[in-house]
């Protein structure tokens, strides 16, 4: 490549980008390395190597401090919520994106506004409502909240996706006398499969890392999710000065997310940008 004076900004920014990514990777490498250190070794500084590679830190946080339990809780709550969100969102998104009826644009608008509602503005009434129904500190309560708070964005995402699917097949089916249920189940759902999967992955990842609702609505160890569980480890582990354990805890929370994401990244990004592609 020939050096061009006018391309200097490009070289500089590329350098910055490489530094940015390099720093991120280095940070992660350091995190993993440190998770094998004892607390004493961590205090000895960044450049000390762990004296022996042992899984003590990991085993301690997974079992004694219950991180495994928190993971299972999250997996349970988040999987059910994701399925529920999709089941509830797909038909309404289909109807709102395809048919005009009384109030349809009003409802669409209502969901779009809902995306911008900060949870903080509603969690106090929700807390009182949920504790009135004895649904705080329960799987059901958390699934309930996760489902309803994910609805607006999922519906918005799926509406954008359904709009990209041409309606010729449905028109043909309609002329042949298919009912709405039939054309939704037999034509739309199969065609929308990749969109539904993208939306599902997106909802799953967002709920997996959710923290605020869990913090407000869950206080017993039994029901803690992964984020909340890691948060509760902070107090326990720093109280005893167990930084090694805390490093291992962070790795255990980050690593599965990265693995899951790197397998499904393409679908994930497709889900996120479905509305942007068409301008």
């Amino acid at each position: 490549m020939k050096f061009k004076f006018s391309e200097i900004p490009k070289y500089l920014i590329n350098l910055f980008l490489i530094f940015w990514i390099g720093f991120s990777l280095f940070m992660f490498f350091w995190l993993i390395l440190s998770s094998f250190k004892t607390t004493r070794e961590i205090y000895m500084g960044v450049w000390t190597m762990p004296s022996n590679i042992s899984l003590d830190n990991y085993i301690r946080v997974l079992t004694d401090f219950g991180l495994l339990r928190f993971m299972v809780n999250s997996l349970f709550v988040v999987t059910i919520s994701t399925v529920l969100v999709l089941v509830l969102s797909a038909p309404i998104a289909y109807v709102l994106s395809r048919l005009k009826f009384f109030g349809s644009s009003f409802i669409s608008m209502g969901f779009i506004i809902g995306i911008g509602i900060p949870i903080q503005t509603i969690f106090i009434p929700l807390y009182l409502m949920m504790s009135g129904m004895s649904l705080t500190d329960s799987y059901l309560g958390l699934i309930w909240l996760y489902t309803v708070t994910s609805l607006p964005f999922t519906i918005y995402l799926l509406m954008g996706f359904f709009k990209t699917i041409p309606s010729t097949l449905e028109d043909a089916a309609r002329i042949d006398g298919a009912t709405a249920t039939q054309s939704f189940l037999k034509i739309m759902l199969p065609m929308a499969r990749s969109g539904l999967i993208s939306a599902g992955i997106f909802v799953f990842v967002m709920l997996w890392k959710e923290f605020l609702l869990a913090l407000v609505f869950i206080s017993t160890e039994n029901y803690k999710t992964i984020s909340l569980g890691l948060y509760s480890l902070i107090t326990k582990l720093t109280y005893t000065g167990d930084w090694g354990g805390l490093f291992a805890g962070v790795v255990l929370v980050i690593l599965p997310s990265i693995i899951f994401y790197s397998i499904l990244a393409r679908k994930f990004i497709a889900g996120l940008t479905v509305g942007i592609g068409k301008g």
């Binding site: 980008l17 500084g45 911008g116 509602i117």
Partner: protein, 309 residues
């Protein structure tokens, strides 16, 4: 195709009713109605956990104007909006410039995916990680500075002087990866013919970027500004956990945005204030501020002409 014919309408009616009514009801009861309830609670003196509840009109709102911790959290939220948007949008634009010029589609995808990773990870884990890096005694940053002979730059990053910038740097690191995906998707939809004719005219890649790409992704830049404004007010986990500095204490006032202050007022464990009605007033202020800001930003930017291509 518009479905005006009455036969179609009738055939679709049941499906429309079944798919919309339950979801809309569920949504209104658990997301819209609580806003009204927050407004109602905010007019009372009430801890939320006792039956003692006294109507006091707007007194909570008047008290908020003299609550220095709350005012600081409002100011901080604005600081996150302003500094965050400038830094994040500048960096994201720079990265869009180089990444959208990559010839290889694979490389383009890979870089975006790596930058996006922090957005898929629990905020608690990221806040802890950032705390580890900036730890004064054994953190990575001070360790690296020491190693490369820049030890005079070492600071107590988690002390009150630097903690706002430290928290902001965490948010920047995460959200550049979020917005880059939007920017690149938008840049990719620009027809290549525009660039080809610019190239024929001898325009440099920088010129092409500023004269073609930026004007044509303006709508996405605007969306990112609106989103960042909302985020600045509602971001919670990163700030709440990062501010605790790994010790599980309450986040110190310099990092708190309205969300953190609101949570601590309503449910804070260390200082059990438990003023649910007072916190409800904060919630209403939060909602109003977000709504006004989004409205203002949209109008400011919308007024500039839109470009068709």
């Amino acid at each position: 195709m518009e479905y005006r014919s009455s036969i179609f309408k009738k055939r679709y009616k049941n499906f429309i009713l079944i798919s919309t009514i339950p979801v809309v009801t569920f949504y209104v009861i658990f997301m819209i109605f609580p806003i009204v309830q927050s407004l109602y609670y905010s007019l009372f003196k009430w801890s939320g956990f006792t039956s003692y509840k006294q109507y006091i009109g707007l007194k909570n709102y008047i008290d908020l104007t003299g609550d220095s911790l709350f005012l600081q959290s409002v100011l901080n939220s604005f600081k996150y909006v302003i500094f965050g948007s400038i830094i994040i949008i500048a960096i994201t634009l720079m990265f869009t410039y180089v990444i959208s010029n990559y010839k290889s589609k694979k490389l383009k995808d890979l870089v975006q995916m790596i930058l996006f990773v922090p957005n898929t990870i629990s905020p608690v884990a990221l806040a802890l990680l950032w705390g580890f890096i900036l730890n004064t005694r054994w953190g990575l940053l001070n360790g690296v500075l020491d190693k490369i002979g820049l030890d005079f730059l070492q600071r107590g990053w988690l002390g009150n002087d630097y903690i706002f910038g430290a928290a902001l740097s965490l948010l920047v690191w995460i959200h550049v990866g979020f917005f880059i995906v939007m920017y690149i998707a938008a840049a990719d939809r620009i027809p290549t013919s525009l660039y080809e004719s610019a190239k024929l005219d001898g325009a440099s890649s920088w010129k092409q970027f500023t004269k073609i790409t930026i004007p044509l992704i303006k709508d996405v830049i605007e969306t990112s500004l609106v989103l960042w404004t909302i985020f600045s007010f509602k971001i919670f986990g990163y700030l709440y956990v990062f501010g605790a500095g790994g010790a599980g204490a309450d986040a110190p006032p310099p990092v708190r945005n309205i969300s953190v202050q609101l949570f601590l007022t309503a449910f804070g464990k260390r200082t059990p204030i438990n003023r649910l009605a007072y916190a409800s007033a904060m919630a209403i202020i939060l909602l109003i501020l977000v709504a006004i800001l989004v409205y203002v930003i949209r109008n400011l930017l919308m007024s500039a002409e839109t470009i068709e291509y």
